[in-house]
Symmetry: C2
Subunit: 148 residues, 2 copies
Amino acid sequence: MSTDAQMLELAIKQAEIGLAEGGIPIGAVLAVGDEVLGVGHNRRVQMGSAIRHGETDALEEAGRQSAKTYAKATMYTTLSPCHMCTGAILLYGIKRVVIAENTTFMGAEDLLRDNGVELVHMESEHCVQMMTDFIAANPELWNEDIGE
Amino acid sequence: MSTDAQMLELAIKQAEIGLAEGGIPIGAVLAVGDEVLGVGHNRRVQMGSAIRHGETDALEEAGRQSAKTYAKATMYTTLSPCHMCTGAILLYGIKRVVIAENTTFMGAEDLLRDNGVELVHMESEHCVQMMTDFIAANPELWNEDIGE
């Protein structure tokens, strides 16, 4: 299995942990090569949080890192990054984002691309199904999470 | 004193609390009219946080709010919002941002403006001085906070 596929598996595991906790099933991993800096998942329900999305939770778990480290890092996420997570990726100069799916939600991918971030799409049917089922069962919670 | 001036005073107090804690002196307030939803300040040092900037800390303290509430809210901040905080403002559809100063740091104001967010600049000499002094004394910490 490639490093990208392995890291995305870790992110998917995070999403599944979130789901098992009663939360929104989105997970992320921040890694440099095969070294994991932080893993995270959406914690809106679990922590009553407005800012802990998958990606920002992984950044928070990774803690304070140098610009040099961020510049070598890849953000793996089970879902196309929203405006907030996109902004966090741009703030820290993360240059590569691997996205499991953007079928159930299209984030600010144009903004990432326009700022020179490399996007890799993995087209995970499993993640599409997980989010489709979740959104169908929890439309209000999902809308709240994307500010709608 | 106008509501804007009062709320900005509150944000400045938050920045000063952060400074007294040994942190980066940036504060924010999320409010609807004269009702404060949340106050916050940068907690990179205090919590070892990568995602608690002034604005995101105020959003976190405000907790889970409806899109209707965010649409009526103003974000008050002592410093021009970085990409991450800009993204959070866009995610939640906050339509108005009052900024104490953008002299010591220019955030993603164009992106806010391009997305229809009203920006109000208060040109606070006090905040310019506070940040100028802080950056001069802590250049590495400041660079870390803005991803440089």
